[in-house]
């Protein structure tokens, strides 16, 4: 009897382990490659996130962000933030638009913002990624104040407009997804459309080094406290009668200029931008590995000596 019970328990543990491994408990489920064409797209249901912007949720989030998140972020990476004075030029809600190459971008951006702005900032997050399960949706909503948007086209969620109207700043990564090689991808029209539609300024942000610190596929930053740079630029406003189609390249150019500024100096970058010669941030036309190689070059850590005007 005893031996039988032990055997049964062992087999049960073995079965549970097999299922846990096979179905990747705690991780995102995968579909075999050959079965991908037969996957039925999930019916999208809008996850309510209004509760995450109530005073209680804001207080909880403020604590999480300021204490554990801030501590972990500064322990693991060494952020260098510049251009925050540009934010002083804001007089109301704004769209904050940044390039996106890592999951680090969100906490970096958030924790580099002045407290007053940070508390009033919401993140647009991919509905299919961050809102696929209730616990992931609830978790990201409470920590980062995310709200779901459909990145695979379709009708635009009405939430970003409502948030802007309610006085919230909204962060959008117009590339739609993290860059696979660290270089800037094509900016989509969503951010420009929002800015034009709601007549709000756009704050461009260039983030450099986050791909080297924690590229796609990694769940934690690389060791060695890599340096990451966040640079804010002056707010852009859509001109009178300017369409989203015309405004979008201006946003992309502003982010590119900020990234250029990050690798050279402010004045050089301004001069190049003035003659329209800002180097492309889409990376060299080269094999994938060389693109990755180039973009994983680590920025010097903030503990190192900093140059003037940088």
């Amino acid at each position: 009897m005893g031996a039988g019970l032990v055997k049964y328990s062992r087999e049960t543990v073995r079965d549970v382990k097999q299922v846990a491994r096979g179905w990747r408990w705690g991780r995102r489920p995968q579909v075999p490659r050959s079965a991908e064409p037969y996957v039925i797209p999930k019916e999208t249901s809008v996850f309510p996130t209004k509760w995450a912007r109530t005073p209680a949720a804001i207080a909880v989030r403020d604590f999480i962000q300021k204490v554990p998140l801030n501590a972990v972020l500064n322990f693991e990476v060494s952020p260098q933030v510049s251009g925050l004075d540009s934010l002083l030029k804001l007089d109301g809600p704004a769209l904050i638009v940044a390039n996106h190459s890592s999951h680090l971008d969100t906490p970096l951006l958030l924790l580099s913002l002045p407290d007053a702005i940070r508390r009033k900032t919401a993140f647009a997050a991919a509905a299919d990624y961050f809102f696929d399960t209730w616990w992931r949706a609830a978790g990201s909503a409470i920590v980062f104040n995310t709200f779901p948007i459909e990145r695979r086209g379709g009708k635009m969620s009405s939430t970003p407009g409502d948030l802007l109207a309610d006085g919230w700043n909204v962060v959008v990564f117009p590339e739609g997804t993290r860059s696979p090689d660290g270089w800037v991808q094509r900016f989509r029209m969503g951010a420009a459309y929002l800015a034009v539609e709601h007549n709000v300024p756009v704050v461009p942000v260039g983030i450099k080094g986050s791909f080297a610190a924690m590229p796609r596929g990694r769940g934690w930053p690389v060791p060695g406290r890599p340096g990451v740079a966040v640079r804010y630029g002056d707010p852009l406003r859509p001109a009178e009668g300017e369409s989203a189609r015309d405004f979008a390249p201006r946003i992309a150019a502003a982010v590119s200029a900020l990234l250029d500024e990050e690798s050279t100096t402010w004045y050089e970058a301004r001069r190049r931008a003035a003659i329209g010669a800002s180097p492309s941030q889409t990376g060299p036309e080269a094999a994938h590995w060389r693109r990755v190689w180039e973009s994983t070059r680590q920025l010097p850590s903030s503990t190192g000596k900093r140059r003037a005007w940088k």
Binding site: Y8, E11, T12, D15, V16, Q18, V19, G22, W23, P29, Q30, V31, P32, R33, S34, A35, P37, Y38, I40
Partner: protein
């Protein structure tokens, strides 16, 4: 919208896959690159079954509407498929009940008094009264059974058999006298797989040993490639010839039904879902079921599986003249089962489940397990077998030494006496078949008890003759070594061992195809 069947290629993202293993199942990690054939998902069922039946009866194919064929004073016989279909048995009400009730309703309106209902069980065991009631329903049962008008066909009742003549190939056509002498024979079929239906219904279901032996023999079976494609099956060719003779004498109104693949519902639903799409609930159900089965005593486990009743949605009902009706039926069956597979492979893998046509409410003995795997699943192809000539077949089933003395008495002797002498179908046929077929004790049990006919185990063995001829190696995973050895096969503890054992004929890195079955599928091997 039901998704089509497809062939999965196992990669690093593929979770362990479910394999049926007798009264249980297991999760197996197949080698990378293994092809797994998944049948199409359950097709949407017809919305109104009764309306579909009425429509079929009133607008038959190449036949007068049924009411026009019915008249007062006529002899009407309704024959129906026995308990071997569908598998697992259907939740009530059975589709046969709904059709028979509709037919009887019309017969009542026409004032037909002389009606008899026959279970077309040929040499299968008789159905118990309860089993008959489950198929035809309480109302029909109560109206006909007490008067002896609802009964099992008796292939050994010489006085009640009629010899209708011979086919151009000299095959005897001998069927139930009542059916042969009826003004109208209505056959109610359940076409679960492509093998069923057509002329096989009447000319096999209501036939005697004298008639059956013309196509149920090792020569015909080895040349039936496969049973699931009547145009390429010698057995079906013979049945079709007999059907021609039969329909010259008897007016047959054939009603064929097709079912979808909605087999497992409730907590067992995971059995028919694609593994990578299992929700947490499915995973939990699987774990709970697997562990519960492991803890359950054997009898309880058997009971759990015997009690499985399937939902099955009706995908079509067609009535009228046999051939055109059957063509329509096959269209529907193919829509549900057919999966295109490119090329044969070196190794085919199949999991043998808990139920086959001949062990409903009974146990799956070693011969039936072999028949299920090597007869039915191996033959689930159109075009070419899934495995190349002289390739290997790996099967999963415990193959316990377990027989039902009530249902399969001749199987025990066949296993002990015949298989110990030879496993070659032709040798067995020549040496032993006649003796078993004419054994008075087996005949007595077949006629009065609930036993399969004495010759039935031979048929099971002929059923697998094509596989025996085609395959170089046949290995069972996790099977009882002794029973498997008696049947001329080998047993391995694990899939890895089995692949090791067959490596001398298929090499170290063979191409492998796993037929994910059930639900049922038909591999269209190009």
């Amino acid at each position: 919208m039901a998704r089509p069947g497809f062939v999965l290629e196992v990669d690093d993202r593929t979770p362990p896959l479910l394999v049926h293993n007798g009264e249980g199942f297991l999760l197996e990690r197949f080698p990378l690159g293994t092809r797994v054939v998944y049948p199409p998902e359950a097709l949407p069922p017809v919305r109104d079954v009764d309306e579909a039946i009425q429509n079929a009866l009133l607008n038959p194919i190449e036949s007068e509407p049924l009411p026009e064929l019915l008249s007062a004073g006529m002899r009407l016989t309704i024959a129906f498929d026995d308990i071997s279909l569908p598998l697992p048995p259907m939740k009530k009400p059975d589709i046969r009940q709904r059709i028979i009730e509709a037919v009887l309703e019309l017969a009542a309106q026409a004032g037909v008094d002389d009606v008899e209902l026959i279970s077309a069980n040929a040499l299968h065991r008789r159905l118990t009264p309860n089993e008959l009631r489950d198929i035809v329903g309480e109302r029909v049962f109560r109206s006909f059974f007490p008067d002896g008008k609802l009964y099992n066909f008796d292939a050994e009742d010489a006085a009640n058999l009629t010899h209708l003549g011979q086919t151009k190939h000299g095959e005897d056509v001998e069927i139930s006298k009542r059916a042969a002498e009826s003004d109208l024979l209505v056959y109610v079929n359940v076409n679960l797989v492509a093998m069923d239906g057509g002329h096989k219904s009447t000319s096999i279901g209501l036939a005697s040993y004298k008639s059956l032996k013309h196509h149920h023999n090792s020569h015909t079976m080895i040349h039936s490639r496969s049973f699931m494609d009547h145009k390429a099956s010698k057995m079906h060719h013979s049945a079709w010839r007999m059907g021609e003779v039969l329909t010259q004498h008897v007016k047959v109104f054939q009603i064929e039904t097709t079912l979808n693949n909605d087999i497992f519902g409730g907590p067992l639903e995971f059995l028919q879902k694609r593994e990578w799409e299992w929700s947490i609930k499915d995973q939990a159900s699987m774990l709970a079921t697997k562990r519960a089965l492991a803890a359950a005593p054997r009898k309880l486990r058997h009971r759990i599986f015997t009690d499985v009743r399937s939902n099955y949605g009706l995908t079509g009902v067609n009535a009228g003249k046999i051939e055109p009706v059957h063509d329509k039926t096959l269209e529907n069956v193919h829509r549900q089962h057919l999966v295109e597979v490119q090329g044969q492979s070196d190794v085919a893998i199949m999991g043998v489940p808990f139920v086959g046509p001949y062990n409903v409410n009974s146990v799956m003995n070693p011969i039936l397990a072999a028949c299920m795997g090597l007869g039915y699943y191996f033959n689930s192809y159109r075009g070419n077998p899934i495995v190349r000539k002289d390739g290997a077949v790996i099967l999963y089933h415990p193959v316990d030494y377990e027989f039902s003395q009530l249902h399969h008495p001749s199987y025990v002797d066949f296993f002990e006496e015949v298989l110990s002498e030879s496993t070659d179908p032709a040798t067995i046929e020549a040496k032993f078949e006649k003796q078993y077929a004419e054994d008075p004790w087996y005949i007595h049990l077949y006629r009065t008890s609930y036993a399969y006919h004495g010759v039935h185990p031979f048929y099971m063995w002929y059923w697998i003759s094509h596989a025996l001829d085609h395959c170089g190696d046949i290995v069972w995973v996790g099977a009882n070594r002794k029973t498997v050895e008696r049947m001329g096969f080998r047993s391995a503890s694990t899939l890895q061992d089995a692949l090791e054992m067959v490596s001398h004929s298929v090499g170290r890195s063979p191409s492998i195809t796993y037929l994910h079955n059930p639900p049922h599928l038909l591999a269209d091997v190009r």
